[in-house]
């Protein structure tokens, strides 16, 4: 299961909306071994494409070194699909090179509702997992859990303005 703060998901969705119709991509770093995604790092899509993304290799080296220096790892690697469902494509699976990461996909195909789904991709095998959103208030009663059933509809409503989310401060 991916457990992640609602504010970070909102920031990821805001990034995907901003870059739409191009695919957006990035990382959420967390302490090594914690499985806790805490630091959102939006990345450049070096391809600037509606159907493909690639981290800029120089930016990636900088970000990966910074994580190493802080004893962090990429807990979440995310990207958006802008016209199709948020499910890993064959391309996504063939490139998946971080066996410990949660691969989060966001679809911005609907203008009003963003869909997010999370996957583990290990040795070419894709398995979907539930996503639990946690509020910063730490009130467990306000967390939401969705089923991990791969056939379940996992859609989260993000109709509100993301204006309060200042994800560009991460740079």
């Amino acid at each position: 299961m991916l457990t992640i703060h609602r504010e970070i998901i909102e920031a990821i969705v805001a990034h995907a909306r901003r870059d739409h119709p191009d695919e957006a991509c990035g990382v959420v770093a967390g302490p090594v071994g914690s499985d806790a995604p805490l630091r959102h790092i939006p990345m450049e899509n070096a391809e600037r494409s509606t159907t493909f993304y690639r981290f800029d290799s120089t930016e990636q080296l900088r970000v990966w070194r910074e994580m190493d220096d802080r004893d962090e790892e990429p807990v979440v690697i995310y990207h958006s699909h802008t016209a199709t469902e948020p499910f890993p494509s064959r391309t996504d699976v063939s490139y998946a090179g971080e066996p410990n990461a949660h691969y989060l996909l966001v679809s911005t195909r609907d203008e009003h509702t963003a869909e997010i789904r999370s996957f583990r991709i290990v040795d070419g095998q894709v398995s979907e997992e539930p996503v639990q959103l946690v509020d910063e208030s730490m009130d467990p009663m306000r967390s939401y859990q969705k089923s991990g059933d791969p056939h379940a509809v996992q859609s989260f409503m993000f109709g509100q303005s993301p204006a309060a989310v200042d994800y560009e401060c991460q740079h």
Partner: protein, 104 residues
Amino acid sequence: MAIDVRIPTILRSYTGGAKAVSGSGDSLADLLTNLDGSYPGLRARLITPEGGLHRFVNIYVNDEDVRFLGSLDAKVNDGDTVTILPAVAGGAFGLAAAAAVLGR
């Protein structure tokens, strides 16, 4: 002196779990051949059967992506740090179509 090589998580099964190993060589190709002697199988994860650098990995000599340094012909020297990272890429497009469009 030797060349310090940083190994990503996904390839540490070849290095007994080590995050960093040492190797030697005058070029990246030599270095990878040298490393494969100590860590059999590692080279094949980085170089395609056709002899090119695999598109699923990024390799850096110090701060520079080797694709800007002549790829496998990139020069390496004692004291350099070579970093291997998984390329992070993908997208909604099929792989074959993407490869054709991107010329890779």
